[in-house]
Structure formats: structure tokens, C-alpha cells
């Protein structure tokens, strides 16, 4: 049941995937997600503010992420910031998407190998 529901989200929109991937390591706030994505993609993917928060809003509505009540140590905390984390459904969806992408990469690799052999 949950399996089918998780698969109904695939393929994930790329912004959604990047946000969820950033949250895979733990709670994170919006600006942190933006920085994380920038670092991970060496500056190639930038989640612009309205895109980022619009996506976060829709991810919450889709029950893939949720606001986290856990906050960092008071010294690092900024009261204005909200922290988000993956829901259990969100984890399932992220896993399913990663699996799908891996299969895709596998398929690309084997096709390439064939092409190279023939050439």
C-alpha cells in the first residue's frame, strides 16, 4: 500500500529530489538546504528562494517532509528559522527514487559498454 503510494511520486521533480537528499542526513533549515545543494553540485544547482520555499510548502502538503521540533543548541539557533525532516513516507519515496536512478545509471553504463565494444 505505502509502496504503491511511494511510487506514485516517481519520478521526483529535480528540486524535490535535491531537497529530500539534503534532508536525508538529518534536520535542516531552508537556507541550509540551499547551501547544501550548492556545495553538493559544486554550484551547478541553485535552488532560488521562491522555488525552494514553494517546493518545501508542496513537500509538506504531500506529506513527504515535516517541520521538526528538534532545534540545534541555542547558541547556533536562529528563532526565525524552521527546521525540516523527512517523514517516513518521504524516506520511502527517496529510497525508491534513488533505486530508480541507480537502475537508470546501470542501464546507461551497460548500453555504453555495448556501444564501445561494437565501435
Amino acid at each position: 500500500m505505502t509502496e504503491t503510494r511511494a511510487h506514485s511520486f516517481l519520478p521526483l521533480k529535480s528540486q524535490w529530489f535535491h531537497i529530500m537528499l539534503s534532508l536525508a542526513g538529518g534536520e535542516q533549515h531552508g537556507y541550509g538546504i540551499m547551501q547544501d545543494v550548492l556545495d553538493r553540485t559544486t554550484g551547478k544547482v541553485r535552488l532560488w528562494p521562491a522555488t525552494l520555499y514553494g517546493s518545501i510548502k508542496r513537500l509538506i502538503e504531500a506529506d513527504l517532509i515535516e517541520e521538526s521540533s528538534k532545534r540545534p543548541a541555542p547558541a547556533e539557533d536562529d528563532a526565525r528559522r524552521r527546521y525540516y525532516r523527512l517523514t517516513s513516507l518521504g524516506k520511502l519515496v527517496l529510497d525508491a527514487e534513488c533505486e530508480r536512478l541507480q537502475e537508470l545509471v546501470q542501464a546507461i553504463k551497460s548500453t555504453r559498454a555495448m556501444v564501445t565494444e561494437q565501435g
Partner: protein, 828 residues
Amino acid sequence: MKIAWLLYKRLAEAFPHEFKLAFGDEMMQAGEDSIADLAKRHGIAGVARLIADLALHLPLEYLSEMRRDMKYAVRALAKSPGYALVGVASMGLGIGLTTNVHNQGWVLLTRTLSGVANPNQLVTAETPTSYPYIERYRDQKDLFTGVAAVQNGVEFNVGLPGQSGKPDRVYGQLVSPDYFSVLGMEPQHGRPLSADLDKTGNVPDVVISDRYWRSRFNSDPDIIGQTIRLNGQNATVVGVTPSKFDGALTVNPVELFVPTTVPATVAPELGNDALHNRGLKSFQFLMRLAPGVTIDSAESALDGITRRLDKDDPLAPPQFDKAKRLVLMGAGTRVQIPREIRPKLLGFYIALMAIVTAIACLNLATMALARGTNRRRELAIRLGVGASRFRLIRQMVTEGVLLSLLGGAAGFALAWALAAITAHTRLPAGSPLNPDLPIDWRTALFAFFLAIVSGIGFSVLPALHATKTDIAPALKQGADLQLFGHKRFGLRNVAMSAQVAGSLLLLLVTGFLVLGLVKNSSIQTNFNPKTMAFLFVDPVRDGYTPEKAQAFFERLPDRLRRDPAITSFALAAQPPYLPGDDDNFHLTVDDPHQSSPVQKDFSQRTVGAGFFSVLNQPLVAGREFDERDQRLDRNPTGLPGAAATRLPLVLNQKAARALFGGVRSVVASMDPNLTLFNVQTLSEYLELIRASMSSALRTFGGIGLFGLILSAVGLAGVTAYAVAQRSKEIGIRMALGARKSQVLALVLREGATLVAVGTVIGFLSSVALAKALSAITTAFADAFSLGIGDPRLLIGAPLLLAGLALLACYIPAQRAMAIDPLKALRME
């Protein structure tokens, strides 16, 4: 950089409230943090991208909010199906009728001629004039790029050479050869009439209408160059007009366009030297104004010319007035309306549409107000947990828009049904074009916009009202918040009285029109209309010379007299009772109430021996015409006029229908080639006239009825709500010993006051409106003067409305009497 940051802030602040509540601060900070970095790394392009991202997402966020509001509205309406049903029904009626008025009235009046280039440049005069005058107007090359002469309603017998059988009787226009070039119209087949080729003496060229080509010639592709017989003479078809073109300057369908260069044998109207006769004012002109020339300047120039021409004409009657001799009006529309009347007529339709829509909105507004009060507790809770007032208002307005969109769909279906009924109404032959006004996407668009505007219109005020709430007491008391709610000028009472007033206004004004139309068209005869028949015979158009026709009409009475079934008969140039074809003229007469002689309009009908006795119509004084008068050289009316060329027979017989055969054989025995046409009894004809008015009656009658139903529904709803709201109070009163009749009076009193106030306002404003409308056009004046004096309407309509309204109050009042004091007090 500073500007970019300012822009970013503005855009971020413009996001929907809910979005800002969740992400506003963070988005602001994210922007602040990244803007400098972006500028450093990517320069202007990076900053622009940042701003563009916000600008693109702003409408998206609002759309997603709207979708949520819509979902919420669907749920809210599903929860109160009664409200939704009544709302959709009344909105549907309102939008449907408004759309119908828009389609039948407004569009009909404003539609331009199809297939015509720049129709707004075309003008014509309000009254016909003579051909020589038009020739003089044609000289004003600086005012016009083209002037064509047109004579309307010319009948032709059309046959095909070598084909025996009855020829067709169709209406055509006699037009000067430049008619099509003035219109800027290219035929769909063949060529237009041309001045060079249509020289007198050749076989005349004619252009036929697309409709006639389809119906009579079966869309024959080889029609061009084909010879047809026009009134017994050969003519060549040279062109077919584009489809949907029905002729300019007329609302009657035109099948043939015949050049004025044809001989009088083809068109008897051209006899009497019509093209040079200044006294024969039977032509209209069609002018195309030169660029930059206004209709006013053209009018004053033409007026001056007409004045000089009149002065030079020894035969023209002396004119004393200083009024304009010539008044121009637009000629580019299907229906030509004098300029003076046009804005008022269109204003009338706008007002009618506005009133109908306003009443539907008022009705829903009163219901929404009641509903809003009922939802106070829910609204207060939502306000308490942080929903913005704007959000709540937006949601309630969305609910209203959804309701009125559903109503709009129902209304569109209603308008469609009404149009379908109108399209199936058969109109009498030769009567104005059955307005070919199909319901199309433009109609749908109109209904859609009307629905949106109405939806917002009726729900904004109630939403403002409902959300203007002190949270604490509303939470505590819920709907019973204001028990002392007898605010005399409360929004709800004002809306209710306005609704009653508006409904009565509609009922009375449309009632005046309906009664007036019915009375105008009802014909009083001194005999049974089934026993009278009309038969038309037109020997001149069957190829007779005027002398031969005269001889025929002298012999005809004797032959008819031999038929024992015919009790009486008469000849006339125009049939009695039927509209049109009168020769109108002015005479200068002495009026005892005026110091100088005044011009009066008369209409002239050429009638033969025994005409009035056939109609069983005694004369006030003098004697009836007899056969001594019936010679064309002794014109019986003693007035200038054309010789009667078309003489219908008027027969009064015991069973008209059965005896048409007898008359046919009499005429056939005199000449088998003569055509009898339009053979009908009077009652059949009257039936057709009635049918042609049914569309207007249905529209106006429907609107009147609509007001009645809506105000009753509205009153019932509001009273029911008031009763529900006061059930606790009523319970206390009953527990303290109030009688049921006292409770009934208490509830009815409030409704009765509203009804009374509304009735008085509605009555006064409708009489004022009717008076104002009568002052605008004679068309309304005729209808109103007949309708306004009718006591049935003046007394009946307010009584009917008030009665219905009180009944609508009575039903919920009865429910109030059934309140169990114990239960009512135990509530909460």
C-alpha cells in the same frame, strides 16, 4: 543593488498571507544572504535571476491558494446542499435571463452587417427621399466616398425560363448599380452590379442572395450567367452575395438585388418616371462617409442642400417648421436605430440586465448574510488560530464565485433553451428576419464573466460583515451573538427591501411592456376572423400592362359575385389590419391649439369598392366607396399617390378556408397565367403575428416572473433564518405565556415591514421608470401608455408580490409557533 533588494522585498511581501506566515521571514533572509554573493559571482544576471524567480512564483502561489479555496468552497457547499441548490437556481435564472436579454436585445441592436467593409462609416437618413435628391447628394464628393440609392420591399415574381408552374414571390431591393461598391462588398460568386454594363436596353443583371441561391437554386455552381424571369422579363444572374448578408437598410430578408436601370416592366415601382420624380419619396440612400467626416457635419451639409432643393420645388408642400429636413443615422448595423434613440434604447437594455443581475445578487447576498452569521463561531475560531481576515473573505468570495459559476452554467443552459425555442418560432412571410442569433462562445463568455462579477458582487459585503467579529464573544455565543438584532437599517433589511423593490420594479415594467405588446397586436374585428380571407393577385408582375390590369380588376367583381359562397368582397392595395406597406405622407393642417399650421403624419391605404362593408365597419360620416370611384383615373382618396399595382382580394365568406379553390378557379378562368399568392385566412395571419411576438413576450414575461420567484425565495429564506435565530427568544416568550397568534404576529411584522417598504419604493420607481422610458421612444410610449393604465397590473402586481412575500414569511412563522419552549431553552 539597493534597488534590487527593494524589489525583492516588495515581491516577497506580495506573496499570499499563508505563505508569508510560514516562509516569509526565511525567504527574506535567504534573499538578503544570497544577493551580495550572487552579485559578486554572476553580476547583474544573477540578481535578475533571483528577482525573476520570485516574480514567476508569485502568481503560482496565488493559483495554488485559489485551488485550495475552491476545494474548501466545494466542501462547504456540499455541506449545505439546500443553500447551494437555491443559490444555483436563482443565480441560474438571473444569468440565464440576462444572457437572453443580452443575446436577443443588445446583440441584435448592435450587430453590424456581415460582409461589409468598415460598417461604421455607413449612414442613411431616417426617412426616405426621392431619387433626384439622392443624385444631388451624390455630388458632395468631399463628404462621401460613395452614395447608393435603395428602394426596399420591392416584390418580384421569379420564374425560370421554360419552366411552367407557379413563379416564386420574393422580396428584393431596387438598388443603384454602385450599391455593392458603396458597401465594399465582393460577391461570393460572380461580380457585383456594375454601372457600365447595366445600360438601359440590355437584358438586366441581377444579384441574388446566398440564401435564395441555396434554397431556390440548390446552390447551383453554374448559377452565374443563368437567365431567370423577373416579373415575366428575362434577367441574368451575375452574382451571389456572401452568406449571412441579408441586405442593407432593412430588417426584412432581401433575396434579389435589382439595378434601378431596369425598365418599369421589370419593376413597376420605377413607373411614373420614379428616377426623376421629385415628389415620389420612395428611395433611401446609403452613404459612406469620407475619412474624417463626422455624421454631424454630413447631416448639417445635407440638411442645407435639402432645404434648397425643397425651396426650388414648386410641388413640394410649404414647410413652416425650422426642424431638420434630414436626419442621419448609422446604416452599418442590421437594425437601424435613430441616433437620438440609440443610446437610450441601449441604456434600457443595460438597465434591464443590471436590474435582473442585481436582484439575483441581492437574493444571494441576503442568504449569504444569514449564512455568515450562522458561521460566526467557525469564523471566529479560524481567526483565533491565525487565519487572516483577508483569507476568510477570500474563501467566502470563492464560495460565492463557485456558486455563481454553477449558476452561470445553469443560466447558459437556460439561455440556450430560450434561443432554441425562438429559433423554432415560425415567422410570417416577409416579416423581419428571424434574428439568427445562435448561442455561441461569445454568449458563453458573457455568461461566464457575468457569473464571476455576480459571484464577487454578492459575496463581498456579506463576507466583510461576517468577518467583522469580536472573537471572544463570538466564540462564547456562536450564532446567537446579537439577540437585539433589530437594527432598522441593518444590511440584511436594506438588502431585503431593495430586493422586494427591485422585483416589483421588474414585474411592473415588464408587465407594462407585455400588456402593451399584447394590446397593440390584438385586433378588434366586427366579425369572426376565421371567415375572412386574403388573396393576393398582382397582374402587373405577371406581365400585364397597367391598362390590361385595370380591365382585369373591373371584370373581377362580376365573376366573384357569381360564387354563392362569397358573402362580400373588396379590392384594396393593402390588406386591412396588417402592418406595413402604408404610404405615409405629411399634410400641413390647421390645429386649433396652435397659432401656426402644423405638420401631421397621415397614412394612406388605397382601398376599393365595398371595403368598409366587408370589414363590417360603419363609417362615422359620409358614404362608402363604390364602383364609380374604382377607376385609377379617379383616384378615390384624392391624394397624390402611386397607382395601385397590387390588389389583394378581401373576401368575407362563411368558411373561407374551404372556398379558396372556388376563387382560384374564378381567377384561373379569367387568365390561367395569373398567380394567386399568400392565400390565408385572417385568423391564420393573426396567429402568425402573435407567434412573431412570442419571443419578446417570453423574455419580458420570464423576467417578471423571475423577480417574483426570487423575492419570494429570498424572503422565505431570510424569515426562516430570523426564526431560527430567535428560537430561544420565542421559546422564552411562549414559556411566559405568549399566545401562538402573538408569536405569529411578531414574526410576520418584521417581514411585513420589509415587504411594505420595498413595495412602496418599487411601485414609485417603476412608474417613474415607465414614464421616463415613454419619453424616450414612441415604441415604448405605445406599449407603456397601454399597459400603465391597466388596473390589473397597477394593483394586481403589488398585491401579488406582497401576498407571495407574506406567504413566504408565513411558512417559517408557522415553524416558530411550533417551537417547544422547553427544547428551545435547553439549547446550548
